[in-house]
Symmetry: C2
Subunit: 309 residues, 2 copies
């Protein structure tokens, strides 16, 4: 469930005018910007961008970029975009520092629905004049690169069919790799990049039954193994994965604001409510309280607004 609160009716023109008022002249009325854009859904935001462009012959995003700053600016910029555009930007930024930010690429390949991933790949062509796979491939290499390229090139079957025999065989292949740090990496790539999510979840469940522990509980031995772990966690239950990302980022504030921003802007219209509930369950602290305590300023206000406060 989403956390975003958006009005059923809104006037893109009035919103554009109010935004203009907030950004023009000396200083910017950040609270007004948040009050409007932080409470509009994806199609409303695009209507506002269009109305603003028509009224003032100026790109709203560029204007906000020049008026805002820091984590607040980054978050607002990412928030305004349509999901496909936003994932293109997230991927493009992440792959320039792929050894550190590889998990963004893995998330895109594993969290998105197959048709959403295709839409992102299409948008990537328009925005960067190259294919997403092409850029990922040129920033990575070895098995690590093969896994990442395979994940963003995947078009998984979306049906519910499960092959139990296959789940058993492939759980064993994965076990040999993640636990015994040996086994065929090509096979691990094949399994994670081509099987349907339903089949993979059956495989991970089978793993737990056979080996008495969750497949996501293991020590990564190198960057390939780290990427495998992120892929497994995103496929198994991306909401749990995002909850943990938030938990770690809140514990060491200053370490992963990009991660916090990413979770909020990509999930506020999807399942941030569920992630927020999980957060409370795991931390006995409400996510909004953690944000209020650890984060400050306009960035905090935007995050709380996206949480539906």
């Amino acid at each position: 469930m989403a956390t975003l609160i958006a009005p059923t009716h809104h006037s893109p023109q009035q919103d554009a005018e109010a935004l203009r008022k907030a950004v023009k002249g000396w200083g910017t009325d950040e609270e007004a910007v948040i009050a409007i854009l932080g409470r509009r859904n994806v199609s409303q935001r695009q209507q506002i961008r269009k109305a603003y462009e028509e009224l003032y012959s100026e790109d709203l995003i560029k204007r906000l970029e020049s008026e805002l700053s820091g984590h607040f600016e980054k978050a607002m910029y990412r928030w305004i975009l349509e999901p496909e555009e936003r994932y293109c930007l997230l991927a493009n930024v992440a792959m320039k520092n792929c050894n550190k930010d590889f998990h963004v690429i893995v998330e895109i390949g594993c969290v998105l629905q197959p048709h959403e991933l295709l839409a992102v790949r299409r948008a990537y062509h328009n925005r960067y004049k190259h294919s997403l796979g092409e850029h990922v491939a040129s920033h990575t290499n070895g098995y690590f690169g093969q896994l990442l390229v395979g994940l963003v090139s995947s078009y998984r079957y979306g049906g519910d069919e499960i092959n139990e025999r296959l789940a058993k065989t492939e759980a064993d292949i994965l076990h040999e790799f993640v636990k015994e740090k040996k086994g065929n990496r090509e096979e691990v790539i094949r399994i994670l990049t081509t099987r349907s999510k339903t089949q993979l979840v059956a495989t991970f469940n089978r793993y737990r039954e056979e080996h008495g522990t969750s497949i996501s509980k293991n020590e990564a031995s190198d960057e390939f193994h780290k990427a495998v772990n992120v892929a497994i966690r995103c496929i198994y239950d991306h909401k749990k994965y995002y909850e943990k990302l938030l938990r770690n980022a809140m514990k060491r504030i200053g370490s992963d604001e990009d991660g916090i921003t990413r979770v909020f802007v990509t999930r506020a219209e999807k399942d941030l409510k569920h992630i927020k509930d999980l957060y409370y369950k795991k931390n006995s602290v409400h996510l909004e309280d953690a944000i209020s305590k650890e984060i400050s300023g306009d960035y905090k206000r935007l995050l709380l607004t996206l949480l539906g406060k």
Copy 2:
């Protein structure tokens, strides 16, 4: 240019009735079947299938399968289908004997436009309840499998931009592999599966300038190398590739009727006219004359009809 001759106006009902007359009772009027279906374009054929199903509560394709036989039946079956369905079938049959028929998979990954390949992958889900990449991966292995999976998972950028520096670097990488039988196979896979066709053609041209010979002129050392060669030829100029396929198949009739059928049914509505002209240029024999001489019966009649005779 297409060779197919289809009427501007046709009545799906009348066609369905004529087909019913041709298949019912003892014996089948193959010539009538060819005269109708061999002269209808893809949307007309789908309308006829629909009309036939509505009138006789029977699947036209299944009925024809039971009435016809041999290469004629196979060709008619493949011809009736929509392109996406047909490529799914071609891929599915080919991958069961992938060491011999790998070129069908490579063609699908390299000849089709990016959006056509996506449509095939979507249709594959519906037809086989698995992804195309998943099936290709489970029938292949090693670098050979990585190349094939990469080709059918590609979504190449379709723009005209060329990076000349990249063309030079990657021409050298390809040269080291195809001529010196060494070099990095992972790099060869990366180049062939992620670059845009325009960029790859620039790379192949650069190869010829630098090394004084066409990249497609080389002796394959193993199955991976063979698949690389087919990919290069399909990307460089698929019409030349198909002309040569027909030339070889005509020389040793009985050796590759599946190839002849594939070229005719997939290209009759696209560029078979161009392929036919190339055939004459290379062989000083008209393609229709070669078919009339080497092939017989209803199969011959269907091929000639698709050629616009």
